[in-house]
């Protein structure tokens, strides 16, 4: 079992003819993902590694019936591409694009909510259910992805795409596979937060524990702490918080767009306090994560 994607998931790639999108298509196909079509306006009729390219999402969906889409289009065109996907019945959108203004992200999320669609990202590497489906650049080339990810009981959620793989790699090396790993995105507003994905992991029988990677800035950890306390979650959670040095540097943005200390509630120290208060275990180093998970399984 898994959340959001499995062996039956088929998806399209919007912006498929871009340089990074072409490699991502190759990686996903090699991993066994069902990439059924691509969309780039004006490039209809071509193909990328055998994946047919269309001018419109309507055409791609009509021919192949996909319900997912990975969006890797320039920031100025992303909102339009998201609306096009949602209007054509796409229910799971992975937005890879970085540097989309916050107001537009709010519009996209609101539009998705109106249509019962889910957004992962923006500014993410996608998600993976090991050996079933890799949707996005997560893990990189198929051979590297197989080294880092293996099937198993741990759900992973991370604000950093790279650290999603780093954590999975540490888990896999310790014999702990993953049910689904989600790079949720590094922006201040994202489609799916930890707390919003928790009910999905709760409902997935295979998932027995959760690992999250977090950073200073934003209310997402507080929201997760609140969720865990209120819902008496069955899943033990282990958290890792990077960027502790930022607590001394308010107003400076590091790493991701959403990573900035503006008030006390944004600091690593305050977030860690809240997580621990909710019974979430905190790892000081990435290599401590597997043992902390094992103790709680």
């Amino acid at each position: 079992m898994s959340i959001l994607v499995d062996e039956n998931t088929s998806f399209i790639i919007q912006g498929i003819t871009g340089r990074e999108a072409v490699s991502m298509t190759r990686e996903c196909l090699d991993y066994g993902s069902k990439v059924v079509g691509g969309v780039t306006p004006g490039r209809g009729g071509r193909d990328v590694y055998g994946v047919p390219v269309y001018d419109t999402v309507a055409e791609a969906v009509d021919k192949h019936g996909a319900t997912g889409s990975v969006l890797t289009v320039p920031p100025a065109f992303t909102r339009d591409a998201v609306f096009e996907a949602i209007d054509n019945g796409i229910k799971l959108l992975v937005i890879v694009t970085e540097r989309i203004p916050r107001f537009e992200v709010a519009e996209m999320v609101e539009f998705a909510n109106m249509h019962g669609a889910r957004i992962i990202g923006p500014n993410c590497l996608g998600l993976i259910t090991p050996e079933k489906c890799k949707m996005g650049g997560i893990g990189g080339p198929a051979a590297d992805t197989r080294k880092a990810y293996a099937p198993g009981p741990v759900g992973v959620m991370s604000r950093s795409g790279g650290m999603t793989t780093e954590i999975a790699n540490a888990l896999t090396a310790a014999g702990l596979g993953q049910s689904t790993a989600v790079s949720i995105g590094g922006d201040a507003i994202i489609g799916s937060s930890y707390a919003e994905l928790m009910p999905l992991f709760e409902a997935d029988e295979e998932t027995k524990a959760i690992v999250i990677y977090s950073e200073p800035g934003g209310p997402m950890d507080a929201q997760l702490s609140e969720y865990v306390t209120k819902n008496n979650s069955r899943l033990p959670i282990v958290a890792f918080m990077a960027g502790r040095f930022m607590d001394k540097m308010p107003g400076m943005r590091f790493g991701h767009a959403g990573t900035i200390v503006e008030g006390k509630q944004d600091t690593a120290a305050e977030k860690l306090r809240r997580l621990e208060e909710a019974g979430i275990a905190v790892a000081e180093e990435i290599e401590e994560i597997p043992d902390l998970v094992k103790e709680r399984l």
Partner: protein, 402 residues
């Protein structure tokens, strides 16, 4: 990107929000002239990007233009949180009857913009929310539907306001929302929004932040305000080293190699990606290392960018060695980064095996990457060496060499 108060007030005035009469002065003489034009008592405010100006002595009152000149002289020479003011704002001193708070920002949980109102202005809104929660009201509003004035009216009326106060505050509030939406702001705050003895309202102080990602859409406005593209306007002004880092990242459009922040240590860091850099920086400090810089590599940058970034880090006085560490990479290619870093070290006139205390980037194309490192005798680790372990080894080797 934070606007100085005088810029923020100009922006709000454009939007029809009343601000006090006055002007901005770069010299004491200018301050004296503006105070004369304003007439009567004035307030002089240091133009820095940090808060807490009042406490630091950055706000002074004057009864005459001569006093204003003297006050401006003091303020212009006063550093606040390591920043000298860019100028001093000279405004008519207001006779205040009542102070309010109006703010617009994003609610990352609701994923919508939110308007905030309080009838306890003049103090930090977080403090009011904590100590007097019944004096703060908030209301999310749609990003898709046009903003309608009644939303602001309802918000303000919900704290029991009526009459002229309600209509005037509603007018200011909706204009603040329009400014927020029109200029890609992430925070638009008027605090205090003051009602004067004559019943009129004026924005006495305000704080506007424009989103980095929205700057491209507002180039004209920024040019009009004389704000350069490389003015980051974060917690402190960028250093020369940081400005050079930004230029490295502009070498080409492939990936990221830059986002440099200067620190005062001796270990140069060539690190990535977004989350990886944060993790590594913490780990270096935890193992007793003193980083000379923060930076980010990610999104598969060109070899040239990795090379230029390495040269920049090595050029900083006091940097003896560099550590090259990233998380397991997905799209960034290990071999390209390895090639770029090695080239950067050689072009700086050093031996890669000497200058690079440790290299740890596992992931895409790692086999090719490790071959390059072996060829140049660079000490490296694969994915079995954790990021923290890599940081520890780098710090240790630096210590041994020193």
């Amino acid at each position: 990107m934070r606007f100085y108060e005088f810029e923020a007030k100009q922006l709000l005035a454009k939007q029809g929000v009343p601000v006090p009469p006055g002007g901005v002065a770069a010299t004491p003489e200018e301050a004296e002239r503006i105070a004369g034009e304003v007439g009567g008592a004035t307030v002089l405010k240091s133009q820095v990007l940090s808060g807490g100006r009042m406490k630091a002595g950055g706000v002074k009152f004057a009864d005459t233009p001569a006093e204003a000149k003297a006050a401006a002289e003091e303020i212009l020479a006063l550093e606040i949180k390591d920043q000298l003011p860019v100028s001093v704002l000279v405004e008519a001193k207001a006779d205040i009857k009542q102070e309010y708070y109006l703010g617009v920002t994003y609610d990352a949980v609701a994923k919508l913009p939110v308007a905030i109102f309080s009838d306890m202005g003049g103090i930090d809104i977080e403090e009011v929310a904590e100590q007097h929660p019944d004096h703060v009201v908030k209301e999310n509003f749609s990003a898709l539907l046009p903003y309608s004035d009644y939303k602001m009216k309802e918000l303000i009326a919900s704290l029991g306001l009526t009459g002229r106060q309600l209509t005037s505050l509603t007018r200011v509030g909706t204009r603040l929302v329009q400014a927020f939406l029109n200029y890609g702001l992430t925070l638009a705050e008027i605090n205090p929004l003051s009602q004067l003895d004559d019943g009129s309202f004026v924005a006495l102080d305000c704080h506007l932040d424009m989103e980095e990602e929205a700057r491209d859409q507002h180039k004209e406005l920024l040019a009009e305000f004389g704000i350069d593209e490389d003015e980051t306007r974060q917690g402190r002004p960028p250093t020369d080293f940081e400005r050079r880092g930004a230029r490295v990242d502009q070498v080409d459009a492939r990936g990221v190699a830059g986002r440099v922040v200067e620190f005062d240590g001796d270990l140069g860091l060539v690190i990535g990606a977004g989350g990886g850099s944060l993790t590594i920086f913490d780990a270096v400090q935890r193992h007793g290392g003193r980083p000379a810089n923060y930076c980010e590599i990610g999104g598969n940058p060109s070899m040239k960018k990795a090379c230029e970034l390495t040269k920049l880090v090595l050029s900083r006085p006091g940097v003896d060695k560099i550590a090259v560490i990233m998380n397991v990479v997905s799209n960034t290619r290990v071999d390209i980064v390895a090639r770029g870093v090695v080239k950067g070290v050689i072009e700086s006139g050093f031996e890669p095996s000497e200058k690079i205390v440790f290299f740890r980037i596992p992931g895409a194309w790692e086999g090719e990457g490790f071959k390059i490192l072996e060829k140049y005798g660079v000490e490296y680790g694969d994915r079995t060496v954790s990021m923290s372990e890599a940081a520890r080894r780098a710090v240790e080797r630096l210590g041994v060499g020193a």
